[in-house]
């Protein structure tokens, strides 16, 4: 397979230790955007109120700038979220996040590779398949009828430092758009009964005249999906507590 097919965008270049090396950008032409599941649905977590400190979107400086120039449009979304559970509990839930009612579009999850490195950290490489529902008009504009998208995920769990880092990126539709996410779970610095999740996403869309519209659409979707993700973790914690013991 062509190595340039997989792109870990500038997001992971900022923290190569967690996410692996950034591959060189792929020159491509495209007028379509990949949008993660949940575009048409909005849901709010039904469980306890969780602290949220969203940051405003900004362009990526530094390494991202050259990618932006090459690709035409890039947007970053980031957020910080606090779970009212200790780190171990959240991590156990994160490792078994799917299926859950908040992310119905994830239809397949597989572990490709898993190992413990020399520093005692667990590395997992996973493949996720998602079915996404775009409004038909958007699909007609975008010019794709594909609905099954594959995402590759690499996570590292450090049980001593108590840090879980997860990077994911789409590996299909990469000639059209790239969506990369990075999640880091750490214990709350002031309260060991809580866990902080910092989350970032980078979207790269190439040569799209509707670029900024699709970007905001995707940023909104990512934001909405992030909220579903937090609710999903809560759901797993509450429903799997009996099963986990």
């Amino acid at each position: 397979m062509n190595p340039a097919h997989i792109r870990k965008v500038a997001l992971c270049a900022h923290r190569p230790h967690g996410c692996g090396p950034v591959r060189s950008p792929r020159r491509s032409h495209g007028t379509t955007a990949h949008v993660m599941c949940g575009l048409s649905a909005e849901s709010r977590p039904a469980h306890r109120v969780l602290t949220l400190r969203p940051r405003t979107e900004r362009s990526i400086p530094g390494p991202g700038a050259s990618l932006a120039a090459l690709c035409g449009a890039m947007r970053v979304w980031s957020s910080e979220h606090v779970f009212g559970h200790p780190w171990d509990t959240v991590i156990k839930a994160a490792m078994r996040k799917y299926p859950n009612p908040m992310n119905p579009c994830v239809v397949g999850v597989d572990v490709l590779e898993r190992s413990v490195d020399g520093r005692g950290r667990l590395h997992s490489h996973r493949l996720l398949s998602t079915e996404w529902g775009l409004p038909s008009l958007v699909r007609a504009i975008l010019g794709t009828s594909r609905t099954l998208t594959y995402i590759r995920e690499h996570s590292v769990v450090d049980p001593v430092e108590k840090k879980m880092e997860l990077c994911s990126t789409n590996i299909t539709l990469t000639n059209l758009v790239s969506v990369s996410e990075r999640l880091v779970y750490t214990p709350h610095p002031e309260d060991p009964g809580k866990t902080v999740l910092t989350q970032e996403a980078v979207i790269t869309v190439k040569g799209v005249s509707l670029g900024s519209y699709l970007e905001s659409l995707m940023a909104n979707t990512i934001s909405s999906n992030a909220k579903k993700g937090w609710a999903a973790i809560e759901w797993i914690i509450e429903n799997a507590e009996r099963a986990l013991s």
Binding site: G108, L112, R121, L122, P159, I171
Partner: protein, 90 residues
């Protein structure tokens, strides 16, 4: 009580594999892994992996499915024990 928790565990773990034929193997492996992860790994005992055999069978099935579906996974054959992604700093 065991049947209830078993049902909950089954629901929570009832995720499909990307390859339809691999789903049962995946679920069996996941149950083994989740137990080891929660009871051993997170508690500091990362040595020894009781799920190796299960994982091998499951992985073979998945690799076959990936080839059949032409999913663009690069470097899968070369992945082994975290070698593909060197960790150089914390």
């Amino acid at each position: 009580m065991t049947s209830e928790s078993a049902a909950t565990a089954a629901d929570v773990d009832a995720m499909n594999s990307v390859g339809e034929a691999c789903t049962d193997m995946k679920r069996e492996y996941d149950q083994c892994f989740n137990r080891w992860f929660a009871e051993k790994f997170l508690k500091g005992d990362g040595s020894g992996d009781p799920c190796t055999d299960l994982f091998k069978r499951y992985q073979q099935c998945v690799q076959k499915a990936i080839k059949e579906k032409e999913i663009p996974i690069e470097g899968l054959e070369f992945m082994g024990h975290g070698k593909e992604k060197p960790e150089s700093s914390s």
